[in-house]
Symmetry: C2
Subunit: 400 residues, 2 copies
């Protein structure tokens, strides 16, 4: 990568603290100086106007390959069950006129303009698509590599064991460079939970990749599966490499009942991803964090055949999480922000994330007094800096 020119952002308040000048060099934060003291020679200047400086947001769970973004409105046509939704998606996407790159690409740019620069996108890996979703998303990862970190997960949307050929596709996806091994409802969809988990843990070990499992299974069943995921994480030495996405079952128990499991998740470095949807039970985020469990969040689908909802704004996601739990104190709103920033960085094992010297110069600047106000207001006046350069402003993606 060619060396980036130096940039100085003058007069910004990191995380709401005292105003500083931030010097960016070679795509990193190279110095934090008292406001007004940075020498501007040879540097691109950004006037921070005393705004709040945040690390770029982390979108830890999205399905870019499924989106209908940037296409005309399409009324949702899915039936009521998950199987209806899966088959409806086949119908909608298989002959869709607009190629994925012209849907997912604009959505990625939209998400960047909201302030997200780190993403984990799950790729629908099943025989009905072959490697189509994988290859098209790998091409998009390449296209946006200079701006964002985009982790790709090959996940068996239609089941792994019940859908012959899927395991081979997942292997091919990993060979092609997909980053993470996905799984889905080892009991509820695949109907053989131990075999399912053995397969994906074996893949992860063989390819030295992390794991991210969609787990919608509810109540005792879901909790039992989480225990089994913990068993295998421990047995295979994959501490710090496993994310359980959704984990609705954790919302079915009183906090006291969950303590031992929470402590175990914390000890194994297993992260929980929750979008905190308001219409189902959800993991008790504050309690999990209080026991040391890392929690991250994501948009899940954004305007796709499953649901037309979603804005791709991770500050809005933090607000929705706060609403979901009735959080209103500053420390609670800061917790919601932590979930969409440091929590995501931990789950995705991001390197050099944050606002310290040496961190990647991936930044979000917006008018707010502090983190709590940023979460509540979700100001659209955002300046997004990737690798030291302004890439979006006021919701507009600026890179040609």
């Amino acid at each position: 990568m060619k060396p980036m020119p130096s940039t100085v952002i003058r007069n910004v308040r990191p995380l709401g603290g005292a105003a500083v000048d931030v010097v960016l060099h070679d795509g990193r934060i190279s110095a934090l100086l008292p406001a007004g003291s940075a020498a501007p020679e040879l540097a691109t200047l950004v006037d921070g106007q005393g705004q709040l400086l945040l690390p770029a947001l982390v979108e830890s769970h999205v399905h870019f390959d499924k989106t209908l973004w940037a296409t005309p409105w399409r009324p949702n046509s899915a039936g009521p069950t998950r199987n209806h939704r899966i088959s409806n998606e086949h119908t909608v996407l298989k002959d869709f006129q607009v190629p994925m790159a012209e849907r997912a690409g604009p959505l990625i740019e939209h998400c960047i303009a909201q302030g997200s620069l780190y993403f984990r996108s799950h790729l629908d890996t099943q025989t009905v698509w072959g490697l189509k979703h994988v290859q098209e998303m790998l091409a998009l990862r390449e296209k946006y590599r200079h701006l964002i970190e985009l982790q790709l997960v090959a996940f068996p949307q239609g089941g792994l064991l019940i859908a012959p050929g899927t395991l081979a596709l997942m292997e091919q996806a990993l060979e092609l460079g997909v980053d993470v091994v996905g799984g889905i409802d080892p009991a509820g969809i695949d109907r053989d939970p131990i075999r399912h988990l053995e397969k994906i843990f074996e893949l992860a070990t063989r390819y030295r990749r992390g794991i991210d499992i969609h787990l919608h299974d509810l109540g005792e069943l879901g909790r039992w599966e989480i225990e089994r995921i913990a068993d295998m994480t421990e047995a295979m030495g994959l501490q710090g490499q496993v994310v359980i996405s959704h984990a609705y079952s954790l919302g079915a128990f009183a906090p006291a009942e969950l303590m031992p499991l929470a402590d175990r998740l914390a000890a194994l470095g297993i992260s929980i991803m929750s979008c905190a949807p308001p219409n189902v039970s959800v993991p008790p985020v504050a309690m999990l964090r209080s026991r040391g469990v890392n929690v991250c969040s994501g948009s899940d689908g954004i305007r796709d055949a499953w649901s037309p909802m979603g804005s791709g704004d991770m500050l809005e996601r933090a607000m929705l999480m706060a609403l979901r739990f009735g959080w209103s104190k500053d420390e609670e709103l800061e917790m919601a922000f932590d979930v969409v920033s440091q929590g995501g960085a931990r789950a995705l094992n991001l390197q050099a994330y944050g606002l310290d010297v040496g961190c990647q110069a991936n930044l979000l600047l917006l008018p707010a007094e502090n983190i709590a106000e940023a979460v509540v207001n979700r100001s659209p006046q955002r300046t997004v800096i990737s690798r030291g350069q302004v890439v979006a402003k006021d919701g507009i993606f600026l890179v040609a």
Copy 2:
């Protein structure tokens, strides 16, 4: 009122239908003509650019008098219970440096800029404030009378029977021109439900006003109170004049159990106001509507001592309601929109509301293909027309 000049909005799609020109005269819709056919002579022209035309939104439940809007961020300092929140509010507001007009006024203008032109604001009427909140909000109602319809409710935040002097204050508020008689948790707060209801129904009858009761009481208790409200509505002949706000208790029962009560509410024209918060049980909106019960919605508090949350955007409220219930079909998103438009108009007994010839020219124009997309996208590019004139654009209030 002096006659308004004529305005023609060219090329807009009412509720997502075919493009028309809309002719506005004397603050009313005077004609809907095929697009391109309206004669522009002597008229102010607004280029609708094929955008979606909606009636202005209805904010059916807000607490303007409590807001800290347009003041520096203040961390929430309330304790955990409702009584803590009430006493905390006294502490926060009693010596607040910024007068109410400089908080509620900017918030009203902000809400107008989001597209709401009809409001029902509850006034905290208790002896600790005397008539202060009432008088200041009456002055604001006067200030914005040329732009909005603002209904005021005198409600006994601190209880009616348990707080001697409150009833006299409420009477004075009604004498001064407050529109609606409020009540609050006749059992849970006032501890004598029948006497509480008798008092407020007596006031409503004597002053010929409607009723709007805050009802947070849960489960069987809340449902029993709703039945008693229905009894008194029937006995006093106040059909179509009563709103029950929040009514969380209706969320505690299976739909089948609620059918007889729902049918009774429908027959008596009692509206339910729900903000559809995600952290408590809420009335089953779709089921209530399917039985003919009118449902409206509101922001409740917006950045106040109770909670820093709230944007004042009733399209966002419709989105939040849809999320709350997992709505994703166009007809479901249209239902959410109906709640923040026609549902509010019915609850508030608004005259000449809508997009028909003869209706008030209170309109919202925004880029969306249809109502469903408007709810999902909540575009900030909004043009707001009050009584035939553009009063806000792209979130900026334009009236000097």
